[in-house]
Symmetry: C2
Subunit: 360 residues, 2 copies
DNA sequence: TTGTAAGCGTTATCAT
DNA sequence: ATGATAACGCTTACAA
């Protein structure tokens, strides 16, 4: 029996689409109102009558309603997503930045969408494309180095009203960076590290760079370190730690440093604390006196550095603060403020026992 | 001048909604086709004519089109999101599980949505509610302990066709767990740890539990450890490390262990490697001989444990493998396979130098 | 091979 | 205070 116009679909069989969750419409029927009223209640509870509110509340609880975010964001044209792209989730240095971001954004009702690149510009581009598909209301990327196509995407996003923040890199008030930057100058930190050693009378320095090719910030610290050393008339050697486990790489680097027959370095700075700790432990194993024979310093202020003996001299970057500040800036920007001033956050050199005066 | 029926909206002013990105429609116009054809091209390129494909490709490149995922998923009724909820992103143990998940899911075209709970069941529930709003195609949670309301949500999800996998906990073939489990039996690992020490003649044991109240898995390892020790007629003391930095907590725990005047423990197992390493370092500082005076072992096989002297005896959990296996199971489930068998993955005890035979 | 129509679940807008 | 209606940008289903 064919369906008549009066009865166009007597038995609609099954939904051909949909995910089977409760919809606003179902809640509304239970509460005896329309979907619109429930929607209103969810976002502005005091704009519905008190007794209606009670019925809606009950209906919501009974159905276990969960709003469909894709539908909501599609309809409203705005998302509460902030996308963050970092080199590595495992690395504790970024983990704290993520925590800061998360803390700051959560308070303002934003959700954090996280992606990691494994220190690869190519993967950054892929991840960027992936997260932009979610129409985030803002994007956080790490550093100022991006592939040309990633830059195009970022510029387009920013033009389209999606603020972009670069974290962990210097804010340069004189230049006109396209994006807001929150972080510090890694060259200057390299400078500060060299200064620490030069001030203690060291004239033959070494910088052990990260084995990670696209860890630009480590390279910049190295460049700053070398420049400062040379400017002071000191000798400086830059070597690269092997890839792989950072502790092992640090051990290997120490072995390399000790090989030098004539004019060996009396002080070495490492691209990060894990490398430096590896070196410290290797020295311990070889019964090489630290800091007497070699002063060692790291970067990052990882928890383990404080525990070793001698305790590791290091630089504490504003790990958490960077994330927190980024969140603050974004919340302000998204709330309509126009200022996009970046922030230069300070690093602190923490002198401990692994560096000392050079022997005369 | 009022608009006539012929000209209902002569100047549509501005879009009141929308995010300003290029739409499928815009691409289609450039290519001289309809949106549907472009949509088709994007998902099944060989179902459009070759010359049409060329024009579409050009139009896509020219416009820099990025698909709107909320719209796509709303329309198709299915998402490619897999949500994972873990206790902590910073913790390297879960970082590797996430990596395994990510590797396995990426290959199958799924996106990973990550949330962390800070080891709080309450926050787990909040995060669960948040991620479920995205209609994920599957959910991964950590462990088998959840709040009652979280369980309700998980059951509802699973009933609604969203598979749920619990990782890092034992798969029990005899019981009928509601969700697929991928991991291992922590009590049994505790047993294995005790066995390692008992076999070496230790009769007075200690277990140093994590200072994190909701680290259920650490507690279970402790319970298994204590049970095995008692079953063997050995003495066992369970103490709790203070909260805060894990290395410091381990140091404090060692101090506590050494305080015992009569019948002090000759061997101690720690809830994780960071605690154990803290203890190792404190012993070094106090010139307490390890393993001669006290055998020490940890759990987790963190990178630092292998580097210390003595090297830390530990248990290597299948960190990466858990994530990888979870991804495999989910991909199979989402592809329509019905089997939801969990997997019991093996832990490996790695004897190193921090444990030895008990002195007679 | 391509197009048309309907609808996914929600919200903006305007009416009542 | 509440409702009707039309989007949001895309995909399914079916027609041409």
């Amino acid at each position: 029996m064919p369906s008549t116009p009066e009865n166009p679909a007597s038995v609609p069989a099954r939904q051909r689409r949909g995910h089977g969750r409760q919809t606003l419409e179902a809640v509304a029927q239970r509460a005896g109102v329309t979907a619109m009223t429930v929607s209103r209640f969810l976002r502005q509870p005091d704009r519905v009558a008190a007794d209606t509110a009670v019925r809606i509340r009950t209906a919501l609880a009974d159905t276990g309603y969960l709003p469909n975010k894709q539908a909501g964001q599609l309809a409203s044209g705005q998302s509460n997503i902030v996308a963050a792209i970092i080199p590595s989730i495992a690395n504790s240095i970024f983990a704290e930045t993520v925590q800061g971001l998360s803390d700051g954004l959560q308070a303002a009702g934003h959700e954090l969408l996280l992606a990691s690149t494994g220190y690869s510009l190519e993967r950054e581009e892929v991840q960027l494309r992936a997260v932009l598909g979610w129409s985030p209301s803002a994007v956080v990327v790490t550093g100022r180095h991006h592939s040309a196509r990633a830059l195009t995407l970022l510029h387009a996003a920013q033009r389209g009203g999606t603020p972009v923040v670069e974290v962990w890199d210097r804010h340069d008030p004189s230049a006109d960076p396209a994006f807001t930057r929150i972080g510090f100058d890694h060259e200057q930190v390299g400078h500060m590290m060299a200064r620490h050693l030069l001030d203690r009378g060291h004239r033959r320095l070494a910088y052990v760079d990260s084995g990670v090719a696209e860890d630009f910030r480590a390279h910049e610290r190295g460049a700053g370190f070398a420049a400062a050393a040379r400017a002071a008339g000191a000798q400086v050697k830059v070597l690269k730690a092997p890839a792989g486990d950072a502790f092992d790489a640090g051990r290997a680097a120490l072995a390399e440093l000790l090989k030098a027959q004539r004019a060996p370095a009396t002080a070495a700075a490492f691209a990060n604390d894990n490398l430096a700790c590896g070196a410290l432990l290797e020295a311990q194993a070889r019964r090489v006196a630290i800091p007497e024979r070699l002063s060692i310093m790291g970067f990052g202020d990882f928890a383990i550095g404080r525990q070793l003996q001698p305790a590791l001299t290091t630089v504490r970057p504003p790990r958490y603060e960077i994330g927190r500040a980024a969140a603050e800036v974004l919340v302000a920007l998204l709330a309509g403020e126009l200022s996009t001033d970046g922030r230069l956050l300070p690093c602190e050199l923490i002198p401990r026992d692994s560096t000392a005066k050079a022997a005369q």
